[in-house]
């Protein structure tokens, strides 16, 4: 049984202009200890999906229309507030994008970390403090004891994010959702933070759902990847295969737009023309069709479903095999033709 199984998640927001669909159809399954990446540009619905899983979206404007979020078999969407609170923080940890605003400015680091523990376990304050100190040391913060009595504004951005990671991992959650953890930080810190995540994951066996807009980054990090566009998953599968042979035109365009050392200097950098669609005016057919170079007339009329292309070639023993899925009329045809030929 997978650790997290999300099916048919649909989230909408109520605006004065009417209801806007932020997430069309989101689904993912994560096994224990696995790293899955969720890639997409701003507005693709990736953060909303992640927040919806933990039910952290503000419910007056937002509404989870349908969906199942099975965490260790229990549907989180059906839980009452009190039971949900027991899962949040303890089994399911979250790390958000902006470390500056995510930490409470008027409480010390130590107080905030201790709170993460004391809310779930009864223990003397001194033990909580000790564990907080160890956690800070584990994430690579120097002089952790002094840092405990520091306020967030006295730390650098990178240290704040490390502290947040420490806070999320204090309770040894089974799944950690990291929403663009390095986007607000210098690129130079990125590598070290990811190394930290990987180390922690290996040591504690935590599963990781990594949300990012950087497709190139995940290629070394995540075992499986989901690509989202305009609120829906358009492609998913083993990262290695996805990067080597992208099936969806959007994935293809994304990979192509990343410059590499071997890119020829003769040509301008490839970009994807246009902009993501306005979610308040959803298109009839495929959402990417207006920008797609392979668009067929059928693409503008019919919304393609996420279908399995083929089962992955390498079926390692004991590892669940996930099929490669794509939502594209064109790819269905092309790749089907390839397979058949």
């Amino acid at each position: 049984m997978s650790l997290l199984e999300v099916r048919n998640l649909r989230v909408s927001f109520a605006t004065p202009h009417g209801s806007v669909q932020a997430v069309e159809n989101f689904g993912v399954s994560i096994d224990a200890g696995e790293t899955v990446a969720l890639v997409g540009e701003s507005g693709s619905g990736k953060s909303v999906s992640a927040l919806a899983i933990a039910r952290l979206l503000p419910t007056p404007p937002s509404r989870i229309e349908t969906g199942e979020v099975l965490f260790e078999g229990r549907d989180l969407l059906a839980l009452g507030e009190r039971e949900l609170r027991r899962v949040r923080g303890k089994e399911l940890g979250l790390v958000f994008q902006d470390p500056t605003s995510s930490l409470h400015p008027l409480m010390t680091i130590g107080e905030q970390l201790e709170e993460a523990l004391l809310v779930h376990e009864r223990m003397p304050r001194a033990s909580a403090r000790q564990r907080a100190e160890w956690a800070l040391a584990e994430v690579g913060i120097a002089d952790p004891r002094a840092r405990l009595s520091a306020f967030p504004h006295q730390l650098s951005g990178g240290m704040r994010q490390r502290a947040l990671i420490a806070m999320a991992l204090l309770t040894r959650p089974k799944l950690l959702i990291a929403d663009e953890p390095t986007t607000a930080l210098d690129v130079t810190i990125q590598a070290s933070l990811f190394a930290l995540l990987r180390k922690v994951q290996r040591e504690h066996g935590t599963a990781l759902l990594l949300i990012t807009h950087d497709l190139a980054l995940v290629s070394t990090f995540a075992r499986r990847t989901l690509v989202m566009y305009a609120g829906a998953v358009v492609e998913s599968g083993l990262t290695s295969e996805l990067v080597a042979r992208p099936a969806h035109p959007y994935t293809r365009a994304l990979l192509r737009s990343v410059p590499s050392l071997s890119t020829s200097l003769d040509h301008a950098l490839p970009v994807i023309p246009g902009a993501p669609p306005d979610p308040s005016h959803p298109a009839l057919g495929c959402a990417f069709a207006p920008r797609c170079e392979f668009a067929l007339s059928a693409c503008h009329q019919r919304r393609p479903a996420l279908v399995a292309l083929s089962t992955s070639a390498s079926g390692e023993a004991g590892v669940r095999v996930h099929s490669r899925r794509v939502a594209c009329t064109e790819s269905e045809r092309t790749l089907a033709a390839e397979v058949n030929s």
Binding site: T15, P16, H17, R256, L265, D266, H267, A268, P270, I272, P273, G274, A275, D278, P290, R291, C292, E293
Partner: protein, 359 residues
């Protein structure tokens, strides 16, 4: 070097054209049309505007209305309670006794006399101890209150905005000096000094000679003198923040002149906060006037203001006899108007807040 994209590595021209068309077809909105729309959508804002407009119109045309004169006294020794409009809608006891009227008002009163003759409304809101009609006094009093508010608004707009803008744009030494002045002026207990000033001016001079400056002029000057300070501070803060804002810097790097930046970037971004503060200043000025009138330092009889009426009303309550209509009428008028101003200010502030994700 060949810079044209190779075929297949670039999206087709057709795709670009299609996308450009789509972007061009979306409607453009401006800040003020958004503001208007948001304001119109809020019921409290609509009603507040209606009330305020009605009030302004009424106070402009009050000489034309078939009301009793606000200063005409009767020989009753006691205030008379209100008589419902359907019991005594009109009577024929109009006496054209007013204080000094400006030529326009005199003409309007003349028109009124021709149109209505001796007819006047009955005592729908009762009369006070000197027999003066409360409804008429409330409506005539609105003129003073609105005039005071307008004057304070103009003062704070001109002096306050100018002071704050100059301080915000000037070098730090000039800015410091200007803001220190504001600090000192604000830390003075102005109410006390005002009361000082007004009460000494009110007391009769020993020789009985006319004073050089009329009491009401001083009154207006004083109101103006204290109204501009908060506005100056707020404008200076905003200008200071805008000066170092990224979009101003980028305009400058594109070669925009200072006057262009002031016109195109500073004014539109300062205007909203000025408007909001204006709607906050007006109620406090009206309350200030009421306060001073209560202490007897406001306008002189036979002129009337809401503050004078409220003061009269407050003194009319004693354990012996209760003339409840005397405080209630002005309280309702003042309360409704200040409520309208407050709600409008709230709606305006919400409408101007671009970060809010509403309409």
């Amino acid at each position: 070097m060949n810079t044209t994209p190779r075929k297949g590595e670039w999206f087709s021209d057709a795709t670009f054209e299609r996308v450009a068309e789509q972007l061009a077809s979306e409607p453009a909105t401006s800040l003020w049309s958004d503001v208007r729309r948001r304001l119109a959508a809020r019921a409290s804002a609509r009603w507040s505007l209606r009330w305020l407009l009605a009030l302004v119109l009424a106070s402009l045309f009050v000489p034309l209305l078939p009301l009793p004169s606000p200063a005409a006294m009767a020989l009753d020794k006691q205030p008379k309670p209100p008589v419902a409009p359907w019991v005594e809608p009109f009577n024929e006891r109009f006496e054209p006794y007013y204080g000094a009227l400006n030529p326009l008002d005199r003409a309007l009163v003349g028109v009124r006399q021709q149109a209505f003759g001796k007819r006047q409304t009955g005592p729908w809101l009762g009369t006070d101890a000197k027999g003066r009609d409360t409804l008429a006094r409330i409506l005539w009093g609105s003129r003073t209150s609105l005039l005071v508010a307008l004057f304070a608004a103009l003062t704070s707009l001109t002096i306050g905005v100018a002071w704050g803008a100059i301080a915000g744009l000037a070098r730090s030494r000039v800015d410091n000096a200007m803001m220190r002045t504001v600090d000192v002026l604000q830390s003075l207990p102005t109410i006390f000094l005002v009361i000082f000033l007004l009460s000494f001016l009110n007391a009769p001079s020993p020789s009985g000679a006319a004073r050089s400056v009329s009491r009401e002029t001083v009154f207006f000057l004083v109101i103006g003198a204290v109204s501009w300070l908060p506005m100056a501070r707020v404008v200076r803060g905003q200008v200071l923040a805008l000066r170092s804002a990224a979009f101003v810097e980028s305009a400058r790097t594109q070669g925009a002149s200072t006057s262009w930046i002031v016109r195109a970037h500073l004014v539109p971004n300062v205007l909203p906060i000025v408007l909001v503060y204006l709607t906050l200043t007006l109620p406090s000025v009206i309350l200030y006037e009421a306060f001073l009138s209560f202490l007897g330092l406001g306008v002189e009889a036979p002129n009337v203001s809401w503050g004078v009426l409220a003061a009269d009303g407050a003194e009319a309550i004693s354990p012996l006899a209760t003339f409840w209509w005397l405080p209630l009428g002005p309280a309702l008028a003042m309360g409704a108007t200040l409520l309208a101003l407050g709600l409008l200010g709230d709606a305006l502030r919400d409408a101007l807040d671009v970060k809010r994700s509403q309409a």
